[in-house]
């Protein structure tokens, strides 16, 4: 017995052999129904319908989508902090972070914003720096005095090969660049994002300045048109958070201006969130809108 799918299959097979489904217009439509003028050059829809049309292409957008923000309830910094402090109540204030997402109006291709920033009030305090520089040189001593946890050339490379990473940031002095290249550590350091390079400003001739910048400095980069960064700890006062936020925004704006004129970038939306809390779209003002709420109220211990 033939199954239903077999029946269907034979149907489909037959369909392709059949004559055109629609009979010619001239044979079915009586002459008096046809238009009187230019009867010979009448065009029927049948002809175009039978022709295979190419599949409609989806429109490819060149910029990331941006939304109409007029419907969004945008709040001031203090109002957002009041809610976030309520959502995060009873959690350790140093491990809970305020996070900010800066949405840009930006093209999908082209350069992205990527930089490092030193916030006025450091958010992370667990940076351990390793420095690659000639062994026992004055440079190595200086780096050690500045607080580097691992200093050296071959000794440091050996540690890395053994899978021992006492540092979470690695910088390299230009005089040791050749030795670093020879050591072939890209496979080990690359996935951890610790391979020194000029692009990330970790290949440097001024170890002191780079270390100063690195300790308490945070990297940020634009992904899918959004720049994200942890800008504060839960225990920060509104003023501290505002200072950090302002510094970060100034940096992002400066970076946007530096970008090639062919690729325009502009600010779209700033969203403040926290580790467990919801995101609040900020309207740029600082003061609370509720009269009963004072700025000092948001400074209590968390």
């Amino acid at each position: 017995m033939a199954s239903t799918s077999q029946c269907l299959a034979s149907l489909v097979a037959r369909l392709s052999l059949r004559a055109p489904a629609r009979p010619l217009a001239a044979t079915t439509i009586p002459k008096f129904l046809l238009p009187s003028v230019a009867t010979s050059s009448v065009r029927y829809a049948t002809n175009t319908a039978l022709r295979k049309r190419p599949a409609k292409k989806k429109k490819a957008y060149k910029t990331f989508r941006s939304y109409d923000l007029s419907v969004m309830d945008q709040v001031s910094l203090c109002d957002a902090m009041r809610y976030i402090r309520a959502f995060e109540v009873g959690r350790p204030p140093t491990s809970i972070k305020y996070e900010v997402a800066v949405k840009l109006k930006s093209t999908k291709n082209g350069p992205v914003i990527r930089n490092r920033i030193r916030l006025p009030f450091p958010v992370k305090t667990d940076t351990r720096v390793g420095v690659i520089c000639p062994e026992n040189s004055p440079l190595a001593l200086e780096a050690q005095q500045l607080g580097a946890v691992a200093v050296g050339e071959e000794s440091l490379f050996e540690q890395i090969r053994q899978g021992h990473f006492p540092f979470n940031k690695l910088i390299c002095h230009t005089s040791s660049e050749a030795a670093l290249k020879k050591a072939n550590l890209g496979k080990l350091l690359g996935p951890k994002g610790m391979m020194p390079s000029a692009k990330t400003k970790t290949l440097t001739s001024d170890v002191k300045a780079t270390m100063h910048e690195l300790i308490g400095a945070d990297d940020f980069r634009e992904r899918d048109g959004v720049v994200r960064l942890a800008v504060g700890q839960l225990g920060f006062t509104p003023q501290m958070l505002a200072d950090n936020l302002k510094t970060f925004m100034d940096q992002v704006k400066a970076d946007m201006n530096e970008i090639d004129d062919n690729y325009s970038k502009s600010l779209d939306e700033v969203v403040l969130s926290s580790t467990n809390g919801p995101g609040f779209s900020l309207n740029g003002s600082f003061k609370p809108t509720d009269e009963s709420l004072k700025v000092e109220d948001l400074q209590s211990v968390m």
Partner: protein, 200 residues
Amino acid sequence: MVGVIHRLHRLQARLVTIRNGPGAAVLPKDISRIHLEFAAKIDGGHMGPKKFWREALPRLKYWNPAVPMIVNRTTNQEGPATLTVYFRDAASTTEPPPMPSSSFSGHSKAPPPAEGERTVKIDMKNRRSEAILLEFMTNTKAQQIIPTPQEEAQMRDILELKERGEIDRERVRKDLEAERKEKAMIAQAMSEAAAMKAAQ
């Protein structure tokens, strides 16, 4: 980034629940600080305290942003679960000593009451969060927040949106399933037809 409308709806739903519900109350002026101590895990009667912290405390904190509310979670499951409320005399002018910040490793013990301060301790162990909240409310004489008509309307809207979302989701799921079924059937028929043609 997620679209504005989607974000707005989710945010409004969360905010309206933090402004209203169990624990939404304004504390009297004489309460200077609140301290909770309970274990990190729920066994040994620490479920109620945890629920109180997760459900009632955010609402209390929203309505009383200036009052420090400190949670100390210990590793000792057999240990006590206590809620300490610090009352301060209006007459006392001395600043209260700084409070330790919240800790998940038992490092912020409840400090002894300062000068001009008295404490009320509520035992939370082996109790439900509703019972803890009730005792807290009667002890502190906190003023319960009653939602305004606008808030109530907003809550209804949010519920309605949620229900409508469920219906829509079900409809889309059915449509999608039918579409997939049809596609699979056609694909099978096509492959069988091709096989039949090849056999001829």
